[in-house]
Symmetry: C2
Subunit: 290 residues, 2 copies
């Protein structure tokens, strides 16, 4: 195994070389930085040598030689287990991109502070293949000073933003994103399955997709206003109108022998809102029955 | 009440002057066409006079004087009830924009054919205030000859397309659109409610909204391919990966005291797919458990 010499220095050390960690290391190296990589099983770090990344076996030594440490592991247990071997820190900046709950992010911030390490918590919204391209999207939370220290290097990974100084914020945003994106994709599957069974031509489906995307962008902006300001009135389409259209769709799906769980859950929410007397408000009044 | 004289002719007759019908009549008139409008209760038709629309009381006479009849009523019962008064047709083109099930659309096509009327069935995806702007979106189905006959006038209402010659197609597309858009908006409400409670800044929410919109556009295109070709493999994120992220989000929402029905329905679907051995496929494999 290639080993970093004592005294070797790097611009970035990447800890964890799974799909995502490897993509991060490659993106840094491709931007011209000197990059070290460590992984519990060394093969995955060594596989990055063709991208100019130096695989290191001594994590403690690599931390001494690198100011910026980017961590991306399968779990926080793995993170602590790897870091245990390090006795002394030199005031490094650790950017932890391991997927976490807000509580895990808070704990890690305390762990880092106790060792004189500056820590940023980050979440990656994109797929590995998008790292280092304009299609990536990364968010960070933690002290503004830590963000200012890491920003210029982290932006090499793609569009990036600092959410807030609260360590758990990027994890919260990630969970909120999951709660929107995954159900939305699941409803795409339900709708597309129905339409494909009815023989709807592919070009029609793709044409309407672009229109719906624009509608959703407006809906997201509308929802933020309606929920933050607690104003859910409308003069265009009432919650009752939406409930009626969902009823019709459920009848059609049932006739096709389909079991659309998302559409039925939507009906449940709309009915709960109607039962609460919110039928004449807009659809964002659903926030009252969550 | 203003009454069309016997012998008066118009470019378009709009039947039904609710919010949407009124918007249609105004858009036609605003484009310079001569427009007649009929409504069961005459006040709503008369209110359009300030937009240059002529309110008519004799529907049968107006049909004799107008080649193109656009119908937009609250229900198909209303449509048939209005049309009963007409004994003779002159081979008009009727464009029926009343919201329907595919079966109602098919029945109307037969009703029209029996009377020597060409009929198009249409669905309006946009809000009334968007009619006549580039933000509108209308789809039509029925004989291609009928579409060619009405196209140049119908396109004055906004972006429009002919879906297929099957009369029920535009209704099917509308129901599929409802099955995607309404659940997606409901999940926007769930995600935004969580993030607002956690104090996520408005500008962060709006920033991430644009990224998510682009992600969803890609997901919709991916879903069409994955479902039509029956290929749901992935080398980026497995259905199991999505299930784990949804689990984490459910824990966070529960900690916040929220009841996210859409997110839980998504979990149900993902679990059903996993139980079927689809965990290593991509998320579009959900189509197998619908």
């Amino acid at each position: 195994m290639t080993t970093a010499d004592n005294g070797a220095t790097f611009d970035v050390l990447v800890v964890g070389c799974g799909f995502m960690g490897s993509a991060l290391a490659r993106a840094f190296a491709g931007s011209g930085l000197s990059v070290a990589a460590w992984n519990r099983t060394s093969e995955r770090a060594e596989a990055l040598s063709e991208a100019g990344v130096v695989a290191v076996s001594d994590l403690a030594a690599a931390v001494q030689g690198t100011d910026l440490v980017v961590v991306c592991m399968a779990s926080y247990d793995n993170v602590y287990s790897a870091m245990e071997s390090i006795d002394t820190w030199r005031g490094n900046l650790i950017v932890n991109l391991t997927t976490a709950t807000p509580e895990q992010s808070d704990s890690f911030a305390r762990w880092a502070a106790a060792r004189g390490i500056e820590a940023l918590d980050g979440s990656i919204f994109n797929y590995p293949f998008e790292v280092g391209t304009p299609d990536a999207y990364l968010v960070y939370s933690g002290p503004l000073s830590a963000w200012m220290r890491g920003k210029s290097v982290l932006e090499l990974l793609g569009p990036s933003r600092h959410v807030s100084s609260s360590p758990g914020s990027s994890s919260e945003l990630m969970l909120g994103m999951v709660a929107y994106l995954v159900p939305a994709i699941s409803s795409v599957v339900e709708a597309t399955t129905y339409l494909a069974r009815r023989g709807m031509p592919r070009e029609v489906l793709l044409g309407v997709a672009d229109y719906l995307t624009e509608s959703l962008k407006k809906a997201m902006r509308g929802a933020v206003d309606a929920i933050e300001r607690d104003e859910q009135d409308t003069d265009q389409a009432t919650l009752e109108n939406f409930a009626e259209s969902v009823e019709s769709a459920l009848v059609a799906f049932a006739a096709e022998g389909l079991n659309p769980r998302l559409l039925r859950a939507t009906e449940d929410t709309l009915m709960a809102a109607r039962d609460l007397g919110l039928g004449e408000r807009g659809i964002f009044a659903q926030t009252k029955v969550l």
